[in-house]
């Protein structure tokens, strides 16, 4: 166990090292200059000498490897630095926005589950029926409608016309409803189709036929066997796409003025606020790693074959 854990930790360290180095390189090689943002050249009279002097002082003229080495040294000391623009400690900034983003992501997942599970299940059970056609239509619509547009439609409907839901800010559970629904609907389509095809595949397996021949009820076969067996591919896709889901939250955060981490990092990218960008990538890397580890563990629970194999080995 200790060996597995240390191996896993070593993998994480290498993974973080690679990802932070790659992101460091990309951020610095991309066009843009944080010095211009810091000096606010569009608002305050600045000379070229002052621009160059600050560049030198900030170490932007040093070789990239030296700059990365300095960042890494601070990182090892758990010093993530301050934002160039707001001067706030990077981790304090990002961690203050993270709960809102996770809240939206969780809300969206809930919406997705509430829609995708029944719709995907019925579509698989009644293949070719009207409900299958509806699920196909919903999936197509969900994939085709841009989330920013959907968000505005929902604001217009529930905020302007019906006046029953708040359309801006983060003020308790109710303010998360519209942004969560918007984001949830946007991601639902893929999971409806995925669950449907995965369920169809499970229902055609031998273990389902065997269960039927033993007289087990259809409901039990569906929930206890087929549905469970259909989940691994769905969860795999979820694990892989979580990063992009959190990244995609930014549009929703802007429309609903929801103060999350996504909007914060877009501002940081615009201003080339490198410490914030690095901090964000680090947090995302850890999150994705945690989710993927959980997904790996869930296979063990969902796939009896895997458990049996492990048992046999031991």
């Amino acid at each position: 166990m200790i060996r597995i854990l240390s191996r896993r930790l070593f993998e994480v360290a290498i993974f973080l090292l690679l990802i932070t180095f790659a992101s460091f390189l990309f951020a610095r090689l991309a066009p843009g200059d944080p010095v211009l943002s810091m000096l606010r050249v569009d608002d305050v009279s600045v000379t070229n000498e002052q621009v160059e002097q600050l560049r030198e002082e900030m170490g932007f003229n040093d070789p990239l490897l030296v700059q990365y080495g300095l960042w890494l040294t601070d990182f090892v000391k758990m010093d993530f630095g301050n934002s160039y623009i707001t001067k706030q400690p990077v981790m304090e900034m990002l961690l203050s926005g993270l709960p809102a983003t996770l809240e939206l992501t969780a809300g969206a997942l809930l919406v997705m589950i509430l829609i995708a599970v029944p719709l995907g299940s019925f579509a698989a059970l009644y293949r070719g029926s009207w409900i299958d056609q509806i699920s196909r239509g919903v999936s197509l619509l969900g994939a085709a409608v841009p989330s920013f547009w959907l968000g505005l439609i929902l604001i217009d409907l529930f905020g302007v016309r019906l006046g029953i839901l708040p359309t801006m800010g983060r003020d308790g559970f109710i303010s998360a409803v519209l942004p969560s629904v918007t984001l949830g609907l946007a991601i639902t389509s893929i999971y409806v189709r995925l669950l449907r095809s995965s369920l169809i595949d499970s229902l055609s397996h031998e273990f389902v036929r065997a269960a039927r021949s033993r007289g087990i009820s259809e409901t039990r076969i569906f929930f206890s066997h087929a549905f469970r067996a259909s989940l691994p591919p769905v969860i795999t896709v979820f694990g892989v796409s979580l990063g992009s889901l959190i990244g995609g939250v930014v549009v929703i955060e802007v429309i609903f003025a929801y103060p999350g981490i996504g909007k914060m990092v877009v501002d940081a990218i615009r201003a080339r606020d490198y410490p914030v960008i690095q901090g964000y990538i680090l947090i995302m890397a850890i999150l994705v790693f945690l989710v993927n580890s959980t997904v790996d563990l869930s296979y063990r629970y969902l796939n009896p074959e895997l458990r049996l194999k492990e048992k046999r080995k031991s």
Binding site: R40, V160, P166, T167
Partner: protein, 509 residues
């Protein structure tokens, strides 16, 4: 049957929940308090008055500066400072009001202002550069400030929102700065809103509003919808396409106010063709300003004759100019060009221009396309290139001829910032590469001229010279759009500087 029963109960619960929410928000608005919700188009994650680039503290009436910019005559005037004077433009004596207190009740005296300015310079390199202060001495309510060099525009730099005066003995600058304005912070949700309460001890008379909310939403459509739904009373920069809808709503007023910004065609004078003044004049003549204002900006802009809006005292009266394709053709012919087979050329070399543009301001790429089309009719090939960060690209590369660029020209009521940054050889925004000794001499003279009147005269002369030499071409001054609930809001003034929004006179009907 049982299933239907369950469904019915769930539906009733859902309706009750939603109704509870809606009645809760109605209660919040309808408790009889005089309150206004202003929805702004930039979000702030920090209220720190010396650092936040959205200037929320000043705009929301939390803080104030020593010097104020008068929106009517666009001249600077006293605010927290009662008066200021300097004989040499380097040593300034500033007398402060003696009736001002911070929102924690502490008096605003010389020491407090000194500490505040020092903190602003320490934490913001931009403010350190803007103020160029060498030393500050405080005695009672008088400050003696020495700048590093003679700096006649120093008082106008004290208009800058990041020079706001705060009580630095308080420490939570990010969430609850303590200023001298009519509203104190009651709570701040980064990226969403700041809730404000009236400061009863405000020196200029307590605000008429009891409470106010300064909220943020960066999506123009969402802002327009917020006004329609009653979620906001005043909305900055609603979606231009939604203006007709908003204007059609009874009780909604839309104001379109000119700003200090100019959209310009920056010219790279280091390119062979651009060195010829007649080519520059031809380009200037080719820009169909009126049509751009009417079509791209839908009338919400003023045609620009020069960098400064005509209401500034230092905006010259420009001679009337002929424009259009035929006028441009004449200038090009004077520059030695002729049209051969539909291509404008000189010594067999076609006139081809590289025009940079960027999407951060949505109208700039459209202006570039209009220009490309007009130039094409004259046989000039214009290659449009989209760039991301114009300041960085223009400074680092010289492979372009023109750029559609947008600039603030006199944000604090003085022309010094723009003229130094754009036309002085050392200026960080001198992307044109202008290095004209006569012009540099005039700017240097401006930099040593003390007094608003003298500075205005010189700035006017410089603007006239820039126009004569056609160093850059000026297209339009975009307007700021504000829509508000005129049935509720009283005494709203759309500030041209966009610095002053929630004031002590703002009220509800």
């Amino acid at each position: 049957m049982r299933k239907s029963y369950k469904l019915l109960i769930i539906s009733i619960l859902a309706v009750l929940l939603l109704t509870a929410c809606s009645s809760k928000s109605a209660e919040k608005e309808g408790n009889g308090e005089k309150e206004i919700n202003l929805l702004f188009n930039f979000a702030a994650n920090s209220l720190d008055p010396n650092i936040d680039t959205s200037y929320v503290s000043l705009r929301a009436g939390i803080t104030e500066t020593l010097v104020h910019l008068n929106d009517e005559n666009l001249m600077i005037e006293p605010w927290l400072a009662e008066s200021w004077s300097s004989e040499d433009g380097q040593t300034w004596t500033i007398k402060l009001r003696n009736d001002v207190t911070f929102q924690n009740g502490e008096p605003m005296d010389g020491e407090a202002v000194k500490a505040s300015l020092e903190r602003a310079m320490k934490d913001s390199i931009a403010i350190e550069n803007a103020l160029r202060i060498e030393s500050i001495r405080a005695v009672g309510h008088t400050l003696t400030i020495k700048t590093e060099v003679p700096f006649p525009e120093f008082p106008s730099e004290l208009v800058h929102p990041n020079t706001s005066i705060i009580d630095v003995t308080e420490t939570d600058f990010v969430n609850k700065p303590i200023g001298t304005g009519p509203f104190a912070v009651s709570s701040f949700t980064p990226g969403t809103a700041v809730d404000l309460m009236r400061y009863e001890g405000y020196w200029d008379g307590a605000a008429k509003l009891e409470k106010a909310r300064f909220s943020f939403n960066e999506d123009a459509n969402a802002r327009s919808l917020a006004l329609e739904s009653g979620g906001a009373d005043i909305v900055f920069r609603p979606e231009v396409e939604s203006l007709e809808n908003l204007e059609a709503i009874e009780g909604v007023a839309v104001e379109s106010t000119s700003t200090f910004r100019v959209h310009q065609m920056t010219m790279n004078l280091q390119r062979e063709s651009m060195r010829n003044i007649n080519v520059r004049k031809a380009i200037d003549a080719l820009i169909d300003r009126k049509s751009i204002v009417d079509t791209i900006l839908r009338g919400h802009a003023a045609v620009a004759d020069g960098p400064f809006p005509s209401s500034f005292s230092f905006a010259p009266t420009y001679p009337e100019k002929q424009t259009g394709i035929e006028v441009a053709r004449t200038f090009l012919e004077q520059a030695g060009y002729e049209e051969v087979g539909g291509v404008m050329q000189k010594d067999g070399e076609p006139l081809a221009l590289t025009l940079l543009t960027y999407s951060a301001r949505a109208d700039l790429p459209l202006i570039a396309q209009v220009f490309q089309s007009d130039a094409g009719q004259l046989g000039i090939e214009v290659d449009i290139q989209q760039i991301e960060v114009p300041e960085e690209y223009m400074a680092a590369n010289r492979d372009w001829d023109l750029t559609t660029y947008s600039n603030l020209t006199a944000p604090r009521g003085d022309a010094g910032y723009y003229l130094n940054a754009t036309y002085h050889p050392n200026g960080a925004l001198n992307f044109s590469g202008v290095n004209d000794s006569k012009l540099t001499g005039m700017i240097d003279q401006l930099n040593s001229t003390v007094g608003q009147e003298g500075r205005s005269d010189l700035a006017e002369e410089i603007a006239g010279y820039v126009d004569k030499e056609v160093y850059n071409s000026f297209i339009l001054h975009p307007n700021t759009l504000v829509a508000y609930n005129s049935d509720k809001v009283e005494n709203w003034v759309t500030s041209r500087s966009e610095y002053y929004m929630l004031t002590n006179v703002l009220d509800v009907k």
